[in-house]
């Protein structure tokens, strides 16, 4: 199999790393080669975060080049728009509809564009919006948005849903197992 490129975008603190880890571990369990890379450091302080997961028979670079991503998963609409150019022609974007103000907007230096979703739709014919926060709430924890988003793309990945569920259960603790699995399945049902 050729390399399948996944880009995950979001805001520092949203659990992009955990979502990336779930996909990377699932690929390893499926006998694939995998490289996962996201840049952290300053990003933790509410900055924009982008993570790459590359899976396939043999993966060299840990970096996804613009124009080559099979799928873009974004935990925030503005971040989906920001990284939309990573998608290859015909690539798919799935994003959570809940907006988070960047500090530039919160301090009145910039406006959050009102037409973000329309812009995404205009630029990508394969775009899907997910009510990730309400699904996460239903699952029992607003912080499970990341698992909702993983669930929402599960059927588009070259990975078995059962393997992903197994990894989520393995990586979660205590009550989190139930919440995260519910969030994952809720995301899958909404897709």
């Amino acid at each position: 199999m050729n390399v399948f490129n996944i880009v995950i975008a979001g805001v520092g603190g949203q659990g992009v790393l955990m979502a990336s880890k779930v996909l990377a571990e699932s690929a390893l369990k499926s006998g694939m080669d995998v490289k996962q890379n996201e840049v952290h450091g300053m990003a933790q302080r509410g900055g924009s975060v982008i993570s790459f997961v590359r899976i396939g028979d043999k993966v060299s670079s840990p970096v996804v080049m613009p124009g080559t991503a099979d799928i873009l998963i974004s935990f925030e609409p503005l971040e989906a728009l920001r990284y939309l150019h990573y998608l290859k022609p015909g690539g798919k974007v799935v994003y959570s509809r809940v907006t988070i103000n960047p500090s530039t907007v919160a301090s009145g230096l910039a406006l959050y564009p009102a037409d973000v979703e329309a812009q995404i739709k205009a630029k990508c014919s394969n775009s899907h919006a997910i009510e990730a926060l309400s699904i996460a709430h239903e699952a029992g924890n607003a912080k499970a948005v990341n698992m909702v988003m993983v669930g929402s793309v599960m059927k588009s990945l070259p990975l078995e849903s059962g393997v992903i569920e197994g990894v989520v259960a393995e990586l979660s603790q205590g009550k989190g197992v139930d919440v995260n699995l519910k969030a994952l399945r809720g995301g899958a049902a909404a897709a």
Partner: protein, 580 residues
């Protein structure tokens, strides 16, 4: 068993598997997780040192005492440790010693872009440059072997895309750690000039032997493919090369200093076009050209700045890259910012209001330089806030200017290299104000312990430095504690500090809300009394936002994000904000 781990985790794992005994470092992105992982694995002694010089010197002592040792730091940390490194290369080692340095091309979280391969040349020590997590794991083992075989420290260099990228790793058989003899050898370890002269000759001879080793070592391998294009590369650049040209001939260097020049010459002669792909400086290219080897593509086509990518490699060789839509322009930036509830927010609100000249330092508080605070006017390196403010104060004095500079520094940075600057301030009678933001953690790198946090790396209790007492002992007469959540009191304290002649130190002791999980009752906006004046937005807090409707939008606070620090409500002139 196969695992997916980062380069940093791989180095930590291999350190434990390769007979490691002692590890010491200072946090710095992208190196930090290495020692944290050594601690998590729990098999080998490890510690945070107050700075990189202390870390490396401690590793030297551990080596002399017979234990394989590791010192970890980011690229700029080597500048601090360089004094030790430049003589360590003369003494050599007893047990193996690895200095792990993590470079940050592209400056994801650094103040400069520094190619540590220069240090390997400068110090005349071997350097290993792994290309993925598996090599990061393997090169620790190889590094200790080279260190002991050639009696030399070994530098293990990563970059952000090696340290933080995760890949599949398989462990090799564990070597049980054994501590060797605590060696006494005066001519080897006492670098008086007469002994140093002998050692320098040995260093040069060692380098020649290492060069011979590099020629035949499997660390440097040729992957012969299509001979139309031959590429010499190392580290993560190798991965970009494989991505760009899976079938090209490649000479992959694992040992990047000293270079295997015969192997390079032979490789160059076997390919039609020779390309050198290296991030940052032209270290390979300069040496290869100096050896009289023809280079067809190098730094003339690949920038000295930033990271390399598969697209950059292809473009440099004159080939097409995958077409992508242009990034959407004009979107609001999402830079990192102070966390909701952070104690730095109150301080910078006041410094911004007072328009003071702020001499900054390395830490979360450097974000105070960004708009709308825009309250930092210089940031050079760890500790420079205080020493630079001192220089400013002296010139101000000479020029007859009465304005006092304000140095802002955090606790960990103060311990790292702020103490000596303050000593100079007290000793040389500086007319400056120093504000120490003592949040009891090394915040920017993710909340590591330090000599003031009361815990060691593993989390066990430790002594806690009392910064106020320490400042007094250094000779500063005026030391006052402040609470930056109280804006009026903070403003008054800063004004007093600016008006009082001589060195003046303010200390804020509010803990890092992220590290200590501080959660306060949230603030809400009374929509009837809010006038939409936006004064509160100067707090630059992501919990704040404007309501979408109306010709004069009002402010609302997202209760999921607000951490109740109350800075915005103190900036409000209409009493429209209160606890929810």
């Amino acid at each position: 068993m196969k695992k997916i781990i980062s380069g940093n985790e791989a180095i930590a794992l291999s350190f434990g598997d390769s007979g490691g005994v002692f590890a010491s470092g200072y946090p710095g992105t992208p190196s930090t997780e290495t020692l944290e992982e050594v601690a998590r694995l729990g098999e080998v002694y490890c510690e945070w040192a107050p700075n990189e010089k202390v870390a490396l010197e401690s590793a030297i002592g551990a080596s002399i005492a017979g234990g394989r040792s590791l010192s970890t730091m980011k690229h700029v940390g080597v500048n601090v440790a360089a004094d030790a490194l430049m003589t360590l290369t003369y003494t050599g080692v007893n047990a193996g010693l690895i200095l792990m340095v993590a470079d940050d091309p592209g400056m994801h979280s650094s103040q400069n872009e520094q190619d540590s391969r220069n240090y390997a040349k400068f110090a005349k020590v071997p350097m290993l440059d792994p290309a993925d997590s598996q090599e990061a794991y393997d090169f620790v083992r190889a590094g200790f072997e080279i260190s002991e075989q050639f009696d030399t420290p070994v530098m293990l260099r990563t970059t952000t895309r090696i340290s933080h990228a995760k890949g599949v790793v398989e462990q090799t058989a564990k070597i049980q750690p054994k501590v060797g003899e605590w060696v006494r050898n005066v001519p080897k370890y006492v670098m008086l000039p007469n002994f140093g002269k002998i050692k320098h000759v040995e260093v040069e001879a060692r380098l020649l032997k290492l060069q011979e080793f590099a020629e035949s070592s499997p660390l440097n391998r040729v992957e012969m493919g299509d001979k139309a294009l031959g590429i010499i590369t190392s580290g993560v650049s190798y991965q970009h090369v494989k991505e760009a040209y899976p079938n090209a001939s490649v000479l992959k260097l694992g040992l990047v200093h000293p270079l295997p020049m015969n192997k390079i010459r032979e490789f160059a002669g076997s390919v039609k076009r020779l390309m050198i792909v290296e991030e940052m400086d032209a270290i390979f290219e300069e040496q290869i050209r100096a050896a009289g080897v023809r280079v067809d593509i190098g730094k003339d086509r690949i920038s000295l700045c930033g990271e390399v990518s598969a697209d950059i490699v292809r473009a440099a060789a004159g080939d097409a890259v995958a077409k992508s839509a242009a990034p959407v322009e004009g979107l609001p930036q999402r830079p990192p910012t102070f966390c909701p509830g952070c104690a730095h927010r109150g301080l910078f609100s006041i410094l911004s209001k007072l328009k003071a000249f702020v001499s900054g330092d390395i830490g979360c508080y450097t974000l105070g330089a960004l708009p709308p605070m825009s309250a930092m006017h210089s940031t050079i390196c760890m500790g420079a806030s205080i020493s630079a403010a001192h220089g400013m104060a002296k010139v101000n004095e000479i020029a007859g200017r009465t304005e006092k500079p304000v140095a802002v520094i955090g606790d960990s940075t103060f311990f790292h290299s702020g103490i000596t600057g303050l000593l100079s301030m007290a000793y040389n009678k500086s007319n400056a104000l120093v504000i120490i933001m003592d949040n009891r953690t090394t915040g920017m790198t993710g909340g590591q312990e330090n000599p003031g946090s009361g815990r060691v790396l593993q989390g066990e209790p430790a002594g806690q430095v009392n910064i106020k007492d320490l400042v007094k002992v250094l000779g500063v007469e005026h030391v006052v504690e402040i609470n930056t959540y109280d804006l009026a009191a903070t403003e008054a304290a800063i004004k007093k500090g600016l008006e009082t002649p001589g060195p003046y130190v303010l200390i804020d002791k509010n803990p890092c809300i992220l590290r200590y999980r501080v959660k306060k009752p949230t603030i809400a906006v009374n929509q009837d009394t809010c006038t939409g004046c936006r004064a509160c937005l100067k707090a630059a807090c992501v919990a704040l936002g404007l309501t979408a409707s109306g010709d004069k939008p009002k402010v609302r606070i997202d209760p999921n994000i607000c951490n109740g620090c109350g800075v915005c409500s103190q900036l409000c002139k209409f009493d429209a904000m209160s606890e929810a």
